[in-house]
Assembly symmetry: C2
Homo-oligomer: 399 residues x 2
């Protein structure tokens, strides 16, 4: 039977494809520290559960295609913290940030259109762009430089006549790189000069450390017609399984067009939207504790990584990921070794090999991404296991 070219060109998620192997190991009684996926262990705030318990309609009916108005309004109020003045028509609720991204690429890209994406990137972007028959044009960034990419000369090198947009995750997944306001200005000017859309995925907005400023691409009025902000409750409120996100844009013509696809898929889950509205209305002080916790975990994780001989990375400024170079040739081969041949006190560790986060062939093979979503003790232990695993891997004759 004949399938589409686009689905055959897609890869299996490098974050999830080793899960079955890990499940086997766990079934045999070995503890696996899961540093491979951005699933926080922080409790979903109680207001979420209470709001859902308070839902008392007898028929779970379709919601509005644009989203429950009470959730749209909560999001509008939330964005006032960033001096953004939105109306309901600027906010489209989606099934997670994932659906928002799918809608954006389907609504902007013709087959062959190019999207500038700093690499390593959140790997599912490749899938979403391929779904729209678009093409990723990578800007390669480097662990040694803290994965910086907002550099005019490097941006200019990858732009072509087919470039339609630049896609940014800020704070960055998988790099933890956080743009300064000056760097955001560079991106904005570049987008204006080449008439590009700016896709700004800011789902980690609150997770910036060392006193860095929280900011949004929605705060640059001169580009508001070309900026699409992606938001999600998954990480911010530790509610990954709710699958509630949104797409925010001040360009009304664009919102009217993308709404046509949104109407086709009818609506997002009603109950989860009710819970999400309560989350967006949490007092901003909620983030102080969460931010402090993640900053602590970052410090512990970074320090533990730096103790492993040959690991290369800069201390990331935000999100909850660290991508680094390992002193091995293949991070994927090492991972299989860790899962199948290594354990200490019946424990081992799992991470996401970073090769699948690059579009440029042949690079990233010796890199990994870890998510510091476990408590500091578990992070320290997981990374110590990585260090010992590398030793054992090399002692077994691997490079």
């Amino acid at each position: 039977m004949r399938l589409s070219d686009r689905v055959q060109a897609m890869q299996n998620s490098p974050i999830r494809k080793f899960n079955p192997m890990a499940e086997e190991v766990k079934a045999q009684g070995t503890k696996v520290y899961h540093l491979n996926i951005g699933q926080p262990d922080i409790e979903t705030p109680s207001v979420f559960w209470e709001a859902i318990k308070g839902f008392d309609q007898k028929v779970l009916a379709y919601a509005e295609s644009g989203g429950l108005p009470e959730l749209q309004d909560a999001i509008i109020d939330y964005f006032k913290r960033f001096d953004m003045a939105l109306e309901r028509k600027n906010v489209l609720i989606t099934s997670g940030g994932s659906e928002a991204l799918t809608l954006v690429f389907l609504s902007l890209l013709n087959p062959g259109d190019e999207v500038i994406v700093p690499e390593p990137y959140y790997t599912n972007y490749l899938t979403f762009i391929q779904a729209a028959d678009g093409v990723v044009k990578p800007i390669t960034t480097y662990a040694e430089e803290g994965f910086k990419y907002a550099i005019k000369e490097r941006l200019e090198k990858v732009v072509t006549e087919k470039t339609k947009m630049i896609s940014i995750v800020n704070p960055g997944n998988p790099t933890g790189c956080v743009l300064t306001r000056d760097e955001m200005r560079v991106i904005c000017d570049f987008a204006k000069e080449h008439d590009l859309w700016i896709l700004a995925d800011e789902v980690y907005r609150e997770f910036v450390y060392d006193g860095r400023e929280m900011t949004s691409f929605g705060q640059f009025p001169d580009v508001e017609d070309r900026v699409i902000v992606i938001d999600s409750i998954s990480k911010r409120f530790s509610a990954c399984g709710a699958r509630i996100g949104c797409l925010v844009c001040k360009n009304e013509e664009y919102m009217a067009q993308v709404m046509k696809i949104a109407m086709g898929r009818l609506c997002c889950p009603t109950l989860e939207m009710v819970g999400a509205a309560a989350l967006y209305r949490l007092d901003p002080s909620f983030f102080n504790e969460v931010r402090a916790e993640y900053e602590h975990r970052r410090n512990v994780s970074y320090d533990a990584l730096k103790k492993i001989p040959g690991v290369v990375c800069e201390k990331p400024g935000g999100a909850f990921y660290i991508t680094c170079k390992l002193p091995v040739e293949s991070a994927e081969d090492l991972l299989v070794f860790l899962l199948k041949e290594f354990k200490e006190n019946n424990e081992t560790v799992m991470y996401a090999p970073a090769e699948g986060f690059y579009a440029t062939p042949g690079i990233g093979k010796n890199e990994l991404r870890i998510a510091y979503i476990l408590n500091a003790d578990d992070m320290a232990r997981g990374i110590a296991l990585l260090g010992k695993g590398i030793e054992a891997y090399k002692a077994a004759g691997n490079k």
Copy 2:
């Protein structure tokens, strides 16, 4: 700013686009009988709410990309009623039937590939197919014939070298047409002869009347490699707002490929999957009462429609829709009249004009779809208002 060609080619949902006009009328105090959307008034079964209330995890985490195993297992058991032997790898949980359809078209269609679709069709199919840059090849069906389409000669007329699949909704939306087993055989043989996929959207499977047999395209073993069944809890269990559906296919190579897109979007909402598992485990006797209720509503609705002079339709055999011809030139123009210029006892009625359900230009202008999702009294009243509205429309000089 430049958008994609595909989004600009899409239409606004003919089912939803008049909602703002209806909201205005209601804000002025007029009651509107909403016969335009398939939102049942039947209560969502209590097991759904209880299952969600019983969910006691502190972190609402990502679920498996293929779906919660407990929901997959409930679906596997459900399909045993139709003699279908499934495993988890054959069942992909999706955000409503809508996402299942999107995944199918993205995974099967290259740009320009054709999908045979009986028209009038569920209008969002057009949007889903356009999202994958596919092309709808309609088989026109007729109210006078009860919208039959499983006729070999008519199928042969629309097949080309670019045809990759035939897309069936059975029982039919918007026509209520139910295939006999012999007709299903015609479709299966046609698909085998031309090496086509069969997309079988069977979300109304239980809603067949007059003693008709419930059946599935999954019950034809000789085509199991080319059949993809779409299912959903929205209509069957009156849980439209849960957005839980699934895609079922015995072709393992296909399931492995479509899973790549599913992994990209991570997962479906966890809580709603927990509730859905309880629904799929409801005793089949649940449907007896629901089916009897819908059959009664269909009878009342059909009788009321036939009392309106000039209305053309056959009695539909399933689902909960009736599509019929009206004695006016434009059902859309009549709808605007009903909403803006007509009321009786401060009440009026709303339906879906059917023109947007046809790909062939110029047909369907004088047709409408109603959903018999209100209680029988309200259906009778709503359709009586339609009859009186047509009288007033013509008396005002309209054709």
